[in-house]
């Protein structure tokens, strides 16, 4: 469902290709992994790698909003990278690109998140 690891101190959550729809069971599984990673992230900075995600919907956005709020409560940050055209459309249409930074690749995202807020 998702792989969690650290790169230069930043927590990376890489979503698997199997998450390609609004399947509720898969979304709940992903939610557990993501929110677990958010809870353990130290420093509280999480980069979500969506390179293998075909499309997302409002339930997925709801999950990201929950993750982001928990990081914000800890003065942390959430960012996304490797976003395809459709997922980018969803984030822009939702205006969520105003509160989460979108990076073209993981290294750029990590470099930016390593900088102090």
């Amino acid at each position: 469902m998702a792989r969690v690891y650290k790169q230069e101190g930043i927590t990376i959550v890489e979503i698997d290709a199997e998450y390609d729809s609004l399947d509720i069971v898969k979304l709940n599984d992903l939610g557990q992994v993501l929110l677990g990673a958010v809870a353990q992230a130290d420093p509280p900075k999480v980069l979500l790698d969506m390179g293998r995600t075909t499309f997302i919907g409002s339930h997925f956005l709801g999950l990201l909003i929950r993750a982001w709020k928990r990081l914000r409560d800890r003065h942390g940050e959430l960012a996304v990278c490797h976003v395809n055209e459709v997922c980018g459309d969803v984030l822009r249409a939702s205006k969520l690109d105003m509160i989460w930074q979108i990076f073209p690749d993981r290294d750029t995202g990590v470099a930016r998140l390593r900088q102090p807020l």
């Binding site: 399947d23 409002s58 709801g62």
Partner: protein, 295 residues
Amino acid sequence: MPTILIVDDSAVDRRLAQGVLEKNEHLAFLYAVDGADAAEQIKISPPDLVLTDLQMPVMSGLELVRHVREHHPLVPVILMTAQGSEEIAVQALASGASSYVPKSRLARELASTVENVLATSRAERHHARMMECVTRNHWTFVLDNDPSLIPAVVDHVQQQITKLKLCDETGRIRIAIALEESLLNALYHGNLEIGSELREQDSRRYYALAEERRREEPYRSRTVHFEISLSAQDMTFLVRDAGPGFDPHDVPDPTDPANLERCSGRGLMLIRAFMDEVRHNERGNEIVMIKRRET
């Protein structure tokens, strides 16, 4: 007169295959010396059937099968296999070859195999031509409140859109997102009457409550009515639930900076973003979404 393209780097084997087949006076023959030569000829003038050797320089028979499958899906390919190449033949069949004939049995089996594959191919071509004459497709689904049905139904719509070449991949995925949102809204908010505020507060409780209500009246007997109408000009989708309905004007605008942190209203916002026209009925339990053909 059906045309057979015989592909083999050995002139003797090409002649042998033609010799077996030319007893049928209604066949015409073309020749290629390897897969690349064949691909070039098929591009200029697709034959009715490709008969190919497996092992050839430049482009093998297996590569040719994959190429034909991708670029000329209605042209069948039969492989001629040498002893010991059964495993590659299995791969070729999995890649879309219609059949294979061992070279040791060409005299006995090639003519009948070609005849059978040509007959099947002819039927498929007629069906493909007939489908090109369809001007509008219409499906109606009556779904119970099982959310696991929704991806399957949306996948069906995506397949039909692809088959009818109504839009590109990005457009198709945008439509899929809008449809999933409308069907999930109908199921959770409409039929099961669960607000998205609960999902925002406690998603586990949200889905657990949905499971409970799926088994309880009055929710249990409610269904989602889903109509799909596809034509070359437009795609129209109607989703109706059996709940009390809602006033779309009451849904907060999730793109308003004051509401960015809220979960509610995002499904409807995505539907409006990805469809060309969106209408609700007066009761608020039905949504009609129209996507027009891009010119």
